[in-house]
Assembly symmetry: C2
Homo-oligomer: 336 residues x 2
């Protein structure tokens, strides 16, 4: 069955990746509609050898659309997603607008694909750092309940979209050429620097990105008991987020058991060569769908064998956004 | 009292910083002797307006030397430090050669200055990541015993010396100019990438740098019970290490108490502006002696109030190496 697909935010970093991933995976598209703000309308984009003209997004854009991927920021989703749903489309929303809303499935297909069928026109795609953590952690959680996660991230600039990538590029070139380093997007210099993720700090002292990792993981795992503390940091890396993850399990678990479970886990690739000192790196994760997992070791700060340390890298534009959303859409199409 | 000072490894990154710090702090130098390998002998270095010629390091180099700073790698320390001690010098060794040896004080002056007097000619300067963690964590440990530390690092390339800095610079320039990126020092590309600290992985699955943070912290704190798990990561930052630190205390503690303790702690500067989203960054920590501490918040993954999260940045060439060693030497001089 072929379906009519709309991409809202087609000219953004994730929008572009939607086109790449849809083409790669030969998603069964009948008609493709590329939507963006008035500013970007009229631009031409290529898809599968054909040129498309970007249309201006309006509330009337969604006639006959089967699946609409939204990736143009939370405000655009809040304003236009209801119109898409009203027109009969299923919205797969990549923003945080509806993620924590009751009745809206929040889905990582490797974790909770059964939630997809429960949608009421809206399915939320989780935060990128959350997805990259959940893919390897979920199969471990199923085998031996995880009580607590302490995670520190190393997040690429393209998590802030194409403008984030541009800012790093411009600052690198300015630095290399001896020119003054200008800031346009990030509050702090990013070349030669790193900084706490620049989202608003909530009353609990955690920033929005960190609280997303906590709350979304609970919803996706369907386990309100799991405790998570996250520290989210932006680093001068173009693409792919890395995460240092400390896990506390219900019962003792060995690195060998973890390796065994992860070797069978969908969406995971073990990169853990102690001899060659070869572990997950953003450079290797970029452009891939698998989350790379390594540094698998027993947490030596516990003497009860219930701790495991991991280090992961995953492409946040692909599995952290576009690939995850397209996987959701594939399951929608398969079940319709 | 003025003393005769020798610097072994004077031409290296830390050696250079020794000169800067000794001059800044007006260390009471009578004669200054700059030592290095035969390859670097004959080079000229400036100190306090005077030009010095680097001499070749031999076992006879240390006649009349009062304090010898060693920073030319563990092998050089193992080979030549005993000769310096035999000649009557006190060696302040910046390498890992003697750190864990019984009878050799391992000193962070803000933590265990009383150990300095116990030396038998050798005092070890701790690992840079360890120092940067210990300065803010120690005053908290004194107030409320810390049971467990989970730390993930973001380590600058100059932790690998001048050659590390050069490698990042060359790769940035190659990237900006569209040239091929060459590797000489690090096993992996560092521009646009990060990787697990490339020291040997021990049987416990942790690399050398991580095991140093565990074992040295126990020795410096004089507390073999403290549990530490570290994940050490190299990031494309020229200077200053950052660390995401999760602390488990013996008794409940609030962020306000932590702030109060740290506001009085020597060597610590609180940078924790939630409104302005301004927290410790390596760019701000570079060239400074204080360890910047922020993101001070209650660990929400515990419900017993015994957890605190911190994010710190500190200049690993200064407080993590040269400044710490010179502080030790100042106390030696003051007590002699």
């Amino acid at each position: 069955m072929s379906v009519n697909v709309a991409i809202v935010g087609a000219t953004g970093a994730v929008g572009q990746e939607f086109l790449t991933v849809l083409a790669e995976r030969k998603f069964p598209i009948k008609n493709l509609l590329l939507l963006a703000s008035a500013r970007s309308a009229g631009k031409h984009l290529e898809f599968a050898g054909k040129t498309y003209t970007v249309q201006e997004l309006t509330k009337d854009s969604f006639k006959d659309v089967t699946i609409a991927f939204f990736s143009a920021g939370g405000n655009v989703s809040r304003e236009f997603a209801p119109a898409a749903v009203a027109a009969g489309a299923v919205v797969v929303d990549n923003t945080s607008a509806f993620r924590m809303k009751q009745g809206v499935p929040l889905v990582v297909p490797e974790v909770n694909p059964e939630q997809i069928a429960k949608h009421n026109g809206l399915i939320a795609n989780p935060n990128c750092s959350t997805i990259i953590m959940n893919v390897p952690v979920w199969p471990l959680h199923r085998a031996n309940r995880i009580r607590r996660i302490i995670v520190s991230t190393y997040q690429a600039v393209s998590g802030a979209g194409a403008a984030g990538l541009r800012e790093l590029e411009q600052q690198i070139k300015a630095y290399a050429g001896g020119a003054a380093i200008e800031r346009h997007l990030f509050p702090h210099q990013i070349v030669h620097n790193l900084f706490s993720h620049n989202t608003k700090i909530a009353d609990n002292g955690y920033n929005e990105e960190e609280n997303k990792m906590v709350n979304e993981t609970r919803k996706i795992f369907g386990d309100p008991r799991i405790m998570v503390s996250a520290t989210c940091v932006r680093v001068p890396i173009p693409r792919a987020h890395s995460e240092s993850i400390n896990l506390e399990f219900d019962r003792p678990i060995t690195p060998e058991e973890v390796r065994q479970i992860l070797s069978l886990a969908p969406g995971v690739k073990i990169v853990d060569d102690r001899e060659k000192n070869y572990f997950p790196m953003p450079l290797d994760a970029s452009g891939k769908d698998d989350v790379l997992v390594g540094r698998i070791r027993q947490d030596i700060s516990r003497d009860d064998g219930r701790g495991i340390e991991l280090f992961v890298s995953g492409d946040q534009v692909r599995k952290g956004a576009a690939t995850n959303a397209v996987q959701i859409a594939e399951k929608l199409v398969a079940s319709s």
